[in-house]
Symmetry: C2
Subunit: 506 residues, 2 copies
């Protein structure tokens, strides 16, 4: 374990438990890391770049999966499962694809360990694979090799398949949830008879992602297309949704690719079309990952801890009893039992924390840290008065309300909190999206008030690269709803017909 050295030790749970959460303004990056670890979302593992998703963090992923899975099925998709390993030769079949992924592949070369006779476990040199296997960084190649056997005619199309899986991309600089060597995701892979139908699917899934991120993560996004430089390796067009984090950096929250006939050509997947002619099949792929959990944390949280939108919060309401004597607790517990039943009937998750090992104040801080949207505190006086104290995590406001009608009140408050978190993020995004017309202003804003910068660009990869080299800002996307507008490229002054969105990004 210690051979992983400083990295592991410095990031171990004990290291963090001994310190508070650093403030967001002081060190945004450290604040994020502290939050993830102190709120029990995830921790680093001894395998470099891989994380352990702890139960609290994983339960958010489970909620995301459940919602997305329904959305995928409602749009006609089914799930399947393809192998973890991809023969090296498969990856090489699509030139741009292998170019994009070769540098970050985990390679399996042997299939056995053995005892060397001196008590050491070593890799058995006699168990070398004839052809190395790549741990999938994405599954286009193995899936299109499979589709070859599934498709003969247009009657076999479309194929609308999704896979929930783990993938591995060997990352040198990692960050919990946002960029890890192994991550969990879903990858949709569809096959179509026409380019139009494939493009329609690509756009449909982008809209599914945008709806999900806006309505469930309470995070407004820009829907757009990537420039050629930023496209998925092997795609003709990459659509994306881009969100803005509280430090003004962009985060790509989901992508949907129109792959054209590239993979069909690489794997010789042809079909007989309605005109009885042979043609290559048209493809899309689309994915979101556990990165979304990172976006969720970064976008809404504050110095006291997570702020979770109610729709994805593992615990939506926590009830903390305040009492001195056991009889008081019994009295409170009887009330809470009824409340819990009412809330469960409304599909609201509630936790009654009656631990006698922690004071109410410590419990308040714990649930604040964990981002529980609503806290109900009940003491003996409340029981006499028929009231409770309700505290909102998002606004940090408290009010005393009647016990009568409490579950209905909670239900509407949760709705309101979800909306409020979204509106706050939307306001932030609006205030931090700026039209810029000169390169000096562009650079000044990146340093002084980073955010989405809407600027003219001459459309060349060279200009895009030079801006990136000089400012670390990339073109996040060309928005789908862009208005046409004459202007001049901020770098070269050459003519441009539309603005694009620049930002520094995660």
């Amino acid at each position: 374990m210690y051979k992983f050295g400083g990295w592991y030790q410095k990031n171990s749970i004990n290291y963090y438990m001994s310190k508070g959460v650093v403030s967001k303004d002081e060190d945004y990056s450290q604040w994020y890391n502290d939050l993830v670890i102190k709120a029990d979302m995830a921790e680093y593992s001894p395998v470099k770049g891989c994380m352990i998703i702890k139960p609290y963090g994983y339960s958010i992923w489970e909620k995301m999966q459940a919602v997305l899975d329904v959305m995928f099925k409602e749009t006609g998709h089914v799930n399947a499962y393809f192998p973890l390993f991809i023969p090296k030769s498969f990856l090489s079949k699509e030139a741009a694809h292998v170019e994009g992924f070769a540098k970050e592949c985990a390679v399996v070369t042997h299939y056995r360990l053995k005892n060397d006779g001196e008590g050491n476990i070593i890799v058995d040199p006699d168990a070398k694979l004839e052809e190395e296997l790549i741990v999938r960084p994405t599954s286009e190649t193995i899936i299109w090799n499979t589709y070859k056997g599934w498709i003969q005619s247009y009657r076999d199309l479309p194929i609308l398949v999704n896979q929930w899986a783990n993938v591995v991309r060997w990352e040198m600089r990692t960050r919990l949830f946002l960029r890890t060597t192994e991550f969990l995701w879903q990858e949709g892979h569809t096959a179509h008879a026409t380019a139009e139908e494939a493009i329609e699917e690509t756009e449909q899934m982008l809209n599914v992602y945008a709806d999900f991120v806006e309505n469930w993560l309470a995070l407004p996004v820009i829907r757009g297309k990537k420039t050629a430089n930023e496209r998925f390796a092997g795609a003709l067009d990459t659509y994306c949704i881009e969100a803005l984090m509280q430090d003004g950096k962009a985060l790509q929250a989901g992508t949907s690719h129109f792959l054209g006939q590239n993979f069909a050509k690489a794997f010789e997947v042809k079909f007989t079309n309605k005109e009885n002619k042979l043609d290559y099949v048209w493809a899309t792929s689309w994915g979101v990952s556990t990165r979304l959990i990172g976006a969720l944390i970064m976008a809404h949280s504050d110095d006291a801890g997570l702020v979770l939108p109610p729709k994805l919060a593992p615990i939506q309401v926590v009830v903390v009893p305040i009492y001195k004597h056991e009889e008081e607790l019994e009295n409170i517990a009887a009330f809470v039992k009824g409340l819990t039943a009412e809330l469960k009937a409304k599909n609201i998750s509630v936790k009654f924390d009656k631990r006698d090992t922690h004071r109410p104040g410590a419990k308040f801080a714990e649930y604040e840290l964990k981002g529980v949207p609503l806290r109900v505190a009940i003491g003996s006086r409340d029981m006499q008065n028929g009231t409770v104290e309700l505290a909102r995590r998002d606004t940090k406001t408290k009010e005393t309300v009647a016990q009568e009608g409490l579950s209905a009140k909670i239900e509407s408050l949760l709705e309101e909190i979800q909306q409020n978190i979204y509106q706050k993020a939307l306001k932030f995004k609006t205030e931090n999206t700026t039209e810029v017309d000169t390169y000096d202003e562009f650079k000044r804003l990146l340093d002084e008030q980073p955010g989405f910068l809407s600027a003219h660009w001459d459309g060349t990869p060279e200009t895009e690269q030079q801006i990136k080299d000089e400012t670390k800002a990339t073109i996040r996307c060309i928005p789908l709803d862009n208005k046409q507008e004459d202007g001049k490229c901020i770098l070269t002054g050459k003519p441009s017909s539309q603005r694009v969105i620049f930002a520094r990004a995660y």
Copy 2:
């Protein structure tokens, strides 16, 4: 692809689609393989030993996951996720554990590919890992290394965590679902303050598995303990459920292990107990896998195809219209619309197959092959008479029933089918479980009427091994509800106090 040669080609879908399903009595093994492939459950992949789980097969896994996940949560467990990779040194820390898994480990040695300058993609020799990583064959080691950071005192216990994941065990002889190099499973890993509590957990989870397999897969099992020879590598006790397949071979359907303090000692996981003394933590682990889908197919199916218990069938009811003219179909469709709504309200999944590209007979054969429990056929005369034809997959019986009250009739029939499939399997198990008192009889039955053989054994690993070497039969388990009974070992004649269950096994 062709480098995988005969194996892949011979097992490709096209190879099978051109042939019928071989009869069960003629070649049981081939019958099983044909069924899996022709019913669209799974197919072989070009990665040796790895399979592709097709949408129809995967939807059964999704149903299994959904039910088990609720059962796990009802017994207090939560889900989490640990890394796919395990440092080689971790695996070596528990001596019996590494001994058990070393021979079947996929080993990652490099983390990058590169272009060799002549257009070939090769493994980059400069990207060799300092320590090799093992693709998890099971996660005890990485999880217990993590638990070390989670546990200080008895107040941190128990930890009740489950993981849904893929694992890899390099198998030389594979069989779809039953034994594959990569498979999907869940693995529970719990930590306890006392041996008693850990044993109670081990037994609880065995009972969860047995309930699930009996009530959902409609498959009766024997609950028992493994002998020392057959234990999980690193366990003090392995509990198992054993089911009987139609060829008289046993199939281990789930295991639950009492790991004692072995992994806590290997990873130095100590806690302060209630008496304020340091002690090692007690462990369990338990798992079931996609192997269950293989058991489901093998146990109930026949020469015409799958026979799926309604509770796990992806499609529970299929409706096939029989018509000549478009107006007839419209009439039928209007009725089916109402029926579908009624069935959906009862949570019964129904498919209306109105494809005009297939004749009714072809559809009947297809759903028979796919094991759909109930088929409703409706023609124009049925519409006039207010009737439908109902066909059961399990008994292959047909009856004409009234349209009125049809959804209630279907609901109760599905219940009846579930029970009937279970009772049939129970009868088979009872008839093929035989008490045997001599070795000659034992060997004769194994050849002539294989099944569970209940026999006396002297309790030594040597005798167990000799019987295995001579007959290929292993001790499947020592049943938990065993009655004590004096007898003599069938091989050595030495005294024995209880019978154990022998069988040849998958």
